[in-house]
Amino acid sequence: MTIEHQERRRAFGFVTPALIWTCAFFLVPFAVMVLLSLAHLEGREIIQTYDLDNYVKIFTEPSLFKGIVVSLEITLIVTVISILLAWPLAWIIATQVPQRYQRLAIMLAVLPFWTSYVVRSYAWALVLGQNGVVMQALIGIGILDEPIQIMATRAATIIGFVHFFVMLLTLTIYSNLIQLSPNYARAAADLGASGWNTLRLVILPLTLPGIMTGAFLTFVLCIGDYITPQILGGNNELTMPQLIMLQLGRRGDFPMASALSVILMMLVTLAYAATARWLKMERV
């Protein structure tokens, strides 16, 4: 046996436990779920069949199909707003804040990460409620005469999501920005570009990897999240995760929940395909 063979066998030995764990508790359950999505619920029995009835139902029954539309709409709006808010923040911290305070500034910008996710949504419910701080302040200044309804609407869900994902995107874009050589901006200025043109034509395109990595993560986490829409958005319009939980809770309809999950998974795969050329998942 050669030295390379020994090395390889040893390396395989190192990787195997993690692979076994991931296969047993991730790949296999996922495969089982895909099979289950082809089955039927009859009464309280699950009958394993192999047809696409569940999928057909999702696309024909308005209450289910609307879930896909609502989820996609919310996710896209959240992703776009978060990028628009996070990019300037990351840029200001990377270029306007003095070097020695940057680490502090970025840590402050993501500090609310360290509250519990459930508690953070709850806190937004407090802030946005009829008698919450925001309404009271707006009435106090005289912008509003009486409180308007934000809680239990799509707006509340979007605000809660944007809060979380602005922090996430600020991190990915900031780490992209500080890796750029300052000579890019110098070269652009040297060649006659204005500050605005330097930003638009040079710096912005160079941060695309950071933006896309953050956008993909935002998409994945946002479209699959149950907590924020459930606490802030209420039951007026349901997102896909809410529908999945509904299938499980009300009737124990695992096949339908599985079918919805498979579709959710496909949407994520599409988002991955769209952003793949900018992503370096190992670096996340």
Partner: protein, 328 residues
């Protein structure tokens, strides 16, 4: 400790690519050997085969007469000094140097004594408790040397150890390496692409190209009497005599080094005009053009103070002319 090294018919393939072709070499015990060649010539591959990090596709490695071809690095009487030193950043210099002895189960006292002895040898005893990141490049290089020598190997392998140092420090470290090697008597096999470094430290130079040995021998032989045109070119500048037509593969051509051209010598080159000259500190580098039909030009290194005026005509002679076959 020291031992001789034999490489017998070594071939190395990476997939379809042949990295080494029929390497046969013998190094005496206690020799300072330099493997010299351009990047990609196979010299580092050969070093890794010696160290046990690669098993040759075929052929044998004998160290002290024993077949080591398939023995793991840790069981060989060799240690390697790596290109980036690979010092352990979380350990003090003493712990770094004592690491090999710790692996051999020596007591703390014994390995500290030995580590201090080795640090003293490289002049860093006062920094024994420091961490590697507190050192300069040259100092790290010395620690790596001390660590590799602490386990008393029979053969020490050095993979371009001076490559990361600046020129002045490199020259200084060359002398130190040579002095330490004389002191410990271990066989050193050193890889570099710098021919001046090779000549400065080697007892024996092995010139390699495209996975083959072009030439091997003492520095004077390789420089003055190279066996191949590649070796001759790699060791320094070369003039071709009477270059009436372009050389073709298989031709034999006569070559001479710039310092062997001058106003006196064994072979007359004819009258030539000095076209320009540059001062290089220890010599003048001069371009001459011979007054014949084809206007052959030569580069000559003339001693300080013996420079004709630019435009003057001089009779040129050459000595130490070698005849070499054109192979590519």
């Amino acid at each position: 400790m020291t031992a001789d090294v034999s490489l017998q018919s070594i071939d190395q393939y990476f997939g379809d690519f042949q990295a080494l072709e029929n390497i046969n070499l013998h190094f005496d015990a206690g020799e300072f050997v330099v493997l010299l060649g351009p990047s990609g010539c196979g010299k580092s591959t050969l070093l890794f085969i010696l160290g046990g990090f690669l098993a040759p596709t075929s052929g044998q490695v004998l160290i002290g007469g024993e077949d080591m071809s398939r023995v793991a690095p840790k069981d060989r009487p060799t240690t390697t000094m790596f290109q980036d030193y690979a010092l352990f950043p979380h350990m003090s210099l003493r712990d770094n140097v004592g690491f090999g002895l710790r692996m051999r189960g020596q007591s703390r006292k014994a390995r500290h004594d030995r580590a201090d002895e080795m640090l003293d040898l490289v002049g860093l005893l006062d920094k024994a408790n420091h961490k590697p990141h507190e050192l300069s490049g040259g100092q790290r290089q010395r620690v790596a040397l001390a660590r590799a020598l602490a386990v008393d190997p029979e053969v020490l392998l050095l993979d371009e150890p001076l490559g990361a140092l600046d020129l002045k420090l490199r020259r200084q470290m060359q002398e130190e390496l040579k002095a330490i090697q004389r002191k410990v008597g271990t066989t050193f096999v050193h890889v570099t692409h710098d021919q001046e470094e090779a000549m400065a430290i080697a007892d024996r130079i092995v010139v390699m190209n495209h996975g083959k040995v072009e030439d091997a021998g003492p520095p004077e032989d390789v420089y003055l009497r190279p066996k191949t045109l590649f070796a001759a070119n790699f060791m320094g500048d070369l003039n071709r005599l009477s270059a009436a037509q372009p050389a073709r593969v298989g031709d034999y051509i006569e070559c001479v080094r710039p310092e062997n051209i001058g106003p006196a010598g064994e072979v007359a080159l004819g009258d030539a005009i000095l076209e320009n000259a540059a001062f290089f500190g220890t010599y003048h580098r001069c371009h001459f053009q011979v007054l014949d039909e084809v206007k052959t030009s030569y580069v000559a290194h003339l001693p300080i103070g013996e420079l004709p005026q630019v435009g003057d005509t001089v009779s040129l002679f050459a000595s130490n002319v070698v005849t070499l076959e054109v192979t590519e």
